[in-house]
Symmetry: C2
Subunit: 336 residues, 2 copies
């Protein structure tokens, strides 16, 4: 390694990807790119938690179907979510009989699982590994904020947790026209003292700035080297803060190259999602649909995905803790 950059020698291939979202996400601007839209947010089940596990189960089923692989072909699955003890993942994966490595990075989990899967494939210890993540608006609201029935008002800085899941199959075999995983960077926790659990964007923006600035510096690149620098998910407020921090602290301007999955998921103003989308399933489902599609089609060539997480629990803000942010980055290319 040079500094913090993780350099994947073999550039593992993303040979298959899948995405499943809920009704509201299906009505957003990306509705047509997802593999599946589940109209019933409970997925016909009796709890929100079971519904979230179901989303991951469906995403994983799609991965196996689309790739023609069986569960026993997969050497390991790296997965995580926002539900306490990552049960969204565990119960979604349980029946597959695949070795399971639980990962927790709040909303940064989508990239953290992808880095982990790529690492074991890159080092030759696995031939096929899956990364998987999910979130669900209702299980998240219930756990982190208020019961839905309470009908609590959300402030304009709040983000809307995406109901969705995304999964990717990573292979050691070089396949042309597949997205490749070239580099990564693990985030440091940065905590500037934000204590408002309804303003996650502000809590996470400093970590995103640190990760992006470190990645650019250590790889000696500028935003112009990328087709897209994609954060997930800072929303409206967090994205503006990110621009300010990068310009002020590092003299870096990413505006022309930047997008945020929290701003891509919904018609932000029309769909009443306040500052935008959030949750592991937001970046997870968009990365495992639109982004992988466009890399494989050659519409995108070089994308730096920086997933951000707010490392709070439902209890920690009430115990006077501020919210540490973290951001893990991964460089995806079209491999051409």
């Amino acid at each position: 390694m040079s500094g913090r950059i993780i350099d994947f020698k073999t550039k593992p291939s993303v040979i298959c990807w899948s995405s499943v979202v809920g009704k509201k996400e299906g009505e957003g601007p990306l509705g047509k790119v997802f593999d599946m839209i589940i109209e019933d947010d409970r997925c016909g089940l009796d709890t929100w938690e079971k519904a979230e596990s179901h989303l991951q189960k469906v995403a994983l089923g799609l991965i196996l179907d689309k790739s023609g692989r069986k569960a026993e072909d997969i050497d390991g699955i790296f997965a995580g979510d926002l539900i306490n003890q990552c049960t969204g993942s565990a119960f979604g994966i349980r029946d597959l009989g695949i070795p399971y490595i639980g990962i927790y990075g709040a909303c940064s989990t989508s990239v953290l699982t992808l880095i982990s899967a790529a690492e074991f494939v890159d080092s030759g210890k696995m031939k096929l590994a899956i990364s998987s993540t999910s979130s669900h608006f209702c299980s998240a609201e219930k756990q982190f904020r208020f019961p839905l029935e309470y009908g609590g008002q959300r402030p304009p800085s709040a983000q809307w947790t995406v109901t969705g899941a995304g999964a990717a199959l990573i292979s050691s075999k070089d396949e042309k026209a597949c997205p490749k995983i070239e580099k990564a960077i693990f985030g440091k926790m940065i905590d500037l003292g934000v204590t408002d659990a309804n303003n996650m964007g502000a809590a996470m923006a400093p970590a995103a700035a640190d990760t992006i600035a470190s990645f650019l510096k250590e790889t000696q690149t500028t935003p112009e080297h990328y087709d897209l620098i994609l954060t997930g998910d800072l929303g409206k407020i967090g994205s503006q803060l990110l621009y300010q921090l990068l310009e002020k602290e590092y003299s870096i301007d990413i505006k022309e190259k930047h997008n945020d999955t929290g701003l891509m998921m919904y018609y932000v103003d029309k769909q009443d999602v306040h500052s935008g989308g959030s949750g592991c399933g937001c970046c997870g489902s968009i990365m495992c649909s639109k982004i992988m599609n466009e890399l494989s089609e050659g519409k995108l060539h070089k994308v730096l995905v920086v997933a951000t997480g707010a490392l709070l629990s439902a209890v920690s803000p009430f115990q006077g803790e501020s919210i540490p942010g973290i951001a893990h980055g991964i460089l995806l290319t079209d491999g051409r």
Copy 2:
């Protein structure tokens, strides 16, 4: 890889380890081997959660002190715990400024973080990586069972969550007389339908049996090849179940070579801990004290540590979910 075995080519060295425990653990048979015993279970802080974070902070401080390293020398820290959203780890690590990778495997986290750290060192992507984990009796009881003030009675099958933390520093540089990490195996979730959150041993024993049998089979070894097969933590009931399962299903007898960190931590009958100890901090603190000590002293040569986790949340049993067990294994040797 051959089958499920993770083979570390460079055999990363464990060049430093540290352990911190609470008062009750300090009064157990291993009291003298831990680096530090904190008499006040609140560590002078105002919540149990902050106390748990403090344990990890102290364990990490000890690692840096003992090894003469600074935080900026460390390329990454792989950590996790039982508290919702792994805040025990996040808040304990926050101030160090080390890239942080959150891991969740319930009580199997101690081994899961060690495998992850070893992997990034083995592949050359990190030079120095830390694995760290903790648990706290009071934060766990409060979260998973009853408020302490309620004074609920615990059934004989219950295990006592250890107040403690363990951390290890993994290096790519071969240092003689240091424990080496040779192999590992990721566990599959096994769920035989146990629904009693007060009988974790029974929920985890089938996963431990699967991991141990798979490891022995794939490495073509028998229990006689090891000085110790150490599970953490099945307790009394789970250990007996493990023997029965291994004998009945796989014709393997490990009794002569087996111990369980849940049985080692306390004077089980005298200290009123029912079936024994549990929690990430149990296996974590014993592995990062007695086991590493004895490997470095050459008293132990080859130890298979199999950490077991029960992948439930506080909510899942009430939603009718059974408890999936998982067990991750790691082969530690004296490197001689």
